[in-house]
Every structure is written in C-alpha cells, then in structure tokens.
Subunit: 385 residues, 2 copies
Amino acid sequence: MTDPISSNFQVNYRYEVHFTHGVFHSDNPLLRTLLSRENLPIRTLAAVDEGLARSRPLLSDEIVRYCLPFSDRIHVVVLQAGESNKNTIEGLHELYRLIAQKGICRHSFILAVGGGALLDLVGFAAATAHRGVRLIRIPTTTLSQADSGVGVKNGMNFEGKKNFIGSFAPPFAVVNDFEMLATLPDLVKRSGYAEAVKVGLIRDRFFFDEIEAAAPELTRFEPQSLQWIIRRCAEGHANHIASGGDPFETGSSRPLDFGHWSAHKLETMSQFRLSHGEAVAIGIAIDVAYSVRIGLLDEDSAERIFAVLEKLGFSLCASELSGMDVLLGGLEDFREHLGGELTIMLLEEIGTATEVHAIDCAKMKSAIRFLRRRQTGAPRPRRSI
Amino acid sequence: MTDPISSNFQVNYRYEVHFTHGVFHSDNPLLRTLLSRENLPIRTLAAVDEGLARSRPLLSDEIVRYCLPFSDRIHVVVLQAGESNKNTIEGLHELYRLIAQKGICRHSFILAVGGGALLDLVGFAAATAHRGVRLIRIPTTTLSQADSGVGVKNGMNFEGKKNFIGSFAPPFAVVNDFEMLATLPDLVKRSGYAEAVKVGLIRDRFFFDEIEAAAPELTRFEPQSLQWIIRRCAEGHANHIASGGDPFETGSSRPLDFGHWSAHKLETMSQFRLSHGEAVAIGIAIDVAYSVRIGLLDEDSAERIFAVLEKLGFSLCASELSGMDVLLGGLEDFREHLGGELTIMLLEEIGTATEVHAIDCAKMKSAIRFLRRRQTGAPRPRRSI
C-alpha cells in the first residue's frame, strides 16, 4: 500500500520556422498547406496587431480572402498593440470570449499576426483556452522574427512585473514574412539587431564578426541584410532551445537572457518608453562593462562590442541609468523570475559566455557610471573602460 | 534562405504519487524529503481549501510548524473552496499577488491542499506564475485522490464553461494523505467511487468485479476499502496518462472521459448542486444505456453496472435530465473542448471501451428517458433497458 506510484513520460515537440514573402497573397501556398494538413473542417481565429492593421488597412480583408476558400470559419480580430496590452486582462478575456463564440477548439488554429507583445498575449490565450489551441505565429517585426516569435514562451505582465504570468507552449508553426518588415519605422527595424548581437556574443563569434562587417548595410536596413540577420539569429535561438538541454527552463542557466536582467528592469522603469531592443542593447553594454571590471573580458573586445552596437544605431545609455539602486533591484527580480540561484551570463570573450552566481554591486555601479560618462562625453578615468 | 528551420525536442516528465497518513505530523518525513531534495533555501506557499480549514481548524498551524524548521519562508493562505471559486479570477489574482509578495520562484513550492476544484485553481496559478512554479498536490477528497489530483491538468471556468481555461502541467509530486478523508461527509467520500467504476468499465474488468464485491464495505466507507479503491483508481489513472500515448491530449481519443460529456453539462445545468462524482455516475449510466440501445453492450451487463452504482449510493437520475435538448448540447461542448472530431467512448463489455464519432440523438434521448422512468418507477417498456 505504501509504495509510491511512479509516472514517467516523454512529450515530443516539433515545429518549423518558415520564411516567406507575402504570406497572405493568394498565390502563396505556405499557410494553406500548414492549415490544411489534416482532413478536418478548418476554423481559424486571426488576431492582428492594431499598429500593423493601421499601416496595412487591407490586411484583415486579405486574411479573410486567403483563408475563406479552404475554411469552415475565419474570423479576424484587431487587438491593441504594444506592451501595455499585456498589463490588463481585458485583451485576454476578449480572446477567450471569441474562442468560445467562434467555436475554436484544440484542433482549430489561432494566427497571431504582430510584434512580440501581441505574440505574447495571443500565445498565452491560445495556450490556456481549452488547455491549448494550435498557434501559428506570424511575427511582423525584426525583433520577433529573429527572437521571441521563434521560441516557446508567451507572457503577460502582472501588477508591474513583466511576463510574471505565462507558460512554455511550443507553437504549431512560425511563419516569418519578410514583406511585413517593409512598413516598419526604422526604430522598430533596428530593435532586432540587439538580440542578434547577443546571439553572436554568447555562442557564435563568427556571427558577431559578420554583423560587424555588415553594419553599414544593416544601418541602411537593406532588405537582404535584414533577412540574413533574422535568419541567422532565429537559427541560433531555435537551436539553443532544441539543443540546449532545458527548453522549458527548469534549471537556472539562461544563456539567451544575457543582458536581460537590466533590460527588463529598464523597460519597466521607463514605462516601456524604451523598446525591448533598445533596453537589451544597454543591458548588453552594462554586462560587457561589468565583465571587464571583474577581469573576465579584455577592454579591446568590450570597445569593439560597444562600437558595433553604436554603429547599428543604439544608444548605450538612458536616463534610467541614474536610478542605480532601483536598477540593481532588477537582479533580484531576475533571480526570482527564473528561480533558484542567481545566475547571470557574462562574457569571457566574444562568442564565449560564462555563468556567475554573485554580482559585486560596487563594480556593477562602476560599470553603469562608465556608460553614463561615456554618453555625456565626460572625461574618462584613467582606465579606459 | 527559404528552407524552414526545424525545431525538435523532447521533454521528460516524472512525478510520484505518494500515499501516507498524517502528512503534516512532525514525525512524518515524506513531505520534508520532497521539499528539501535540493540544497536550496526552501520557500513554500500553501493554499488550503476553506472547507477543509473549517473542519480542521489547526491545519494551517500544523503546516507552518511542519515546514518552519527546514524552510526559508512558509506562508499559508486559506482559499474559498468549491467549483464556484473557479468562476472568477479573484482567487487566481490573490494567488499571483502572494507568489510575487512572498518571493516564490520557479524553484520554490506551492502546496495545494484540498479537493479537486481547489487543486484545479491553485494548479493553474502555479503553472502560469513565472511560467511554472513547482506544485505539490495534497488532494483531500476520495475523488481528487483517486482521479484528478493524480493527473496532469488544471483548470478554471470561464463565463459558464467548465474548465474552459487551463493547461497541462505535471505536478512536482502528489501526496495522498488518507487521514484527510476521516472528516469528509459521506456524500464527498462517495464521490470518488464513480471515477473508480469508470476506470473498471473502460479498462479493467477485474477491478470492476472487485468493486462489485467490495460494495458493502465501500458503502460503509470502511477505511481499508476506501484506501484500496483510491490506490487502484489512482494507479489506473496515472498508468493511462503515462502509457496511453497522448498525455497532453493532442489527439481526439479520451478514454478517461467516459461518461463525462453529459456529466460536465449536468454539473453546469445544476449550477454545481450535483457534485462531479454524482454527475459522473449519471453520465456513466446514460452512456451505458445508450451502448445497449445501439446494440453494443448486452442488457445484463448494463443492469449489473446500474446495480453497482446504486449499491454504492448513487442516484442514476436528476431533475436536469428533463432538459434533454440542453443536455444534448453537451455533446458539442465536449467536442469543442477536446477538439477535432466528436469522439465518445462507449462500452462493448465491462472492461472494454470503444470509440464512436457520431451519436444517434433519438436513441440517446431514449436512453435518458429510460433512466428517468427507472427512477420514478414508471412502468418499463417491453425492452427492459
């Protein structure tokens, strides 16, 4: 009677990240093929980012026209965009209500068409309605195409804590449509570059070299360069999830979160005036400067990294850096969110990261002060970094 | 450039269902061992069912006293019990807030101590805060110890739809404490029997024979019989999840949902006056009577099943059976919730279930009418079932 019952099982996950141009053009078979893989009546709910719908007023019609010929039901809803929509449950409940009303079931599809925040919100709704409806992500920004849209997470904010609520839920498929990038403002186009630099720094020195060499084209947002950097970054990101040994982050190691402890805090402190990409660029700079201060990274490599980030158009400073004690609170938020022991990735050299479990606050403050002085052009102390 | 990136990975899940007496007694090492498996400061949030706390006023103190010697933090919250607490987001947000305030992280523990509804609510909070905090379920009713507490699901109701929101999230561990059963009202003790009969009917003829033979002891709720039926039912349930090939229900087959399409609808129709166990007993009777009507099951087996359910103290009828058209709407709710094609388990013989994908509504109504007549003692038609 007293032996425990042991329950052991494996779940296999498989999804593909596709690259295309004009996913809703009637002559593009990709999405049709994905949706009609099984011989079932196809019901689809498409949730479109409001900002995107504004810049592409015909998009909703295009989606309906594309899906109608092979669908039982297709409904498009336009959702308020941006990180602020992840703060309240209204958007979430609107989605739940539509899923119920439109008869969307676990074998139906939800298409999430938009930037990272929309993908996070719609992804959470899809993961939790009926305990999981099939989600096809169609990220429409460089950042979401290169990074979060490719991964396995979703999230909502709760009472000031970014992504406090969420789950690990691999999508049914991801479709990166390069045509979506054409109408983006430069600021948004640039945002994905920060995560690309991160992937290069933590695991792929050669990729970092390539980004450095391609900086002029990237700065001009030449389509070929944009597509190349997204593809390479998405590969690195997906590869890490599938091969890193801990796709659902049960341990404490998070290489992909390099530069993110401060980035998340900066975003919140700025009330999301700073975009995720801008905050990550500063977060990378902070941890690079700190890596130098504890003798892990050489100064020349650090200067090279700062130069690449700046060439790509990022500022390495923000007014929030003056609130140093609040910012350093981000370390504990980060530890608490990821769980277990504090684990921060730092750089040994370009392409090689290492984990530390304690931060020297005086040296971290010195790193942050350095970036502020660097920005204002104040005279540098003897040590150049 | 146009080849898709393929992301394939496996996630291994493992948890144990333990059986004990007096889990919070200071000399019981089980929970202490589970909580302190890693060399980390242990933070625990325990959520206790209000009904249980009322019948055991010292329980919160016991939990604190048990955990304090080896814990960094322990906090107990008493939550409103029952299915109605799954209807609103208040209880959920109270839990999120406590998780944030008490510094509960992914490597901390949430103890859910209560019946199925509390386990569902707390399980959903644990699965979605920080994208998943370790959950130890301590089910305190026969039903939850035998059935849902052992499984991988959680859930909340949304605008009248039972378990519309939820996720698949295997617990860290389950502890079935038989001592918790002592203070339960008979009605609640009986509730677990319906799921046990179900497990016997769909996959284990021998278990059904045993239940039939043990009915007198079960009706008297003799502790040994209660413990035996819970253990056997939990084994059958856990075994199906681990070996059934589809633990997270991506397909359409759901043997464990035998009798449940109508049970869920009856619960909602009765505004949860009918407990889950009472509704499942009626749901089993409906599908057994229907199985006879379509020539799948013999009448003698059906009468044997009705007799066992009645001997165990279940009524096979409820006033809600007069709302036949509303009840039959449960078939579409069920299909929609599970997704894909309608798939209903029926019985070929005791111990052997089979799937059908269409229901003959006239015959289903005849099955329901039969149960109503049977109850009122109205003269039976020539056909005895």
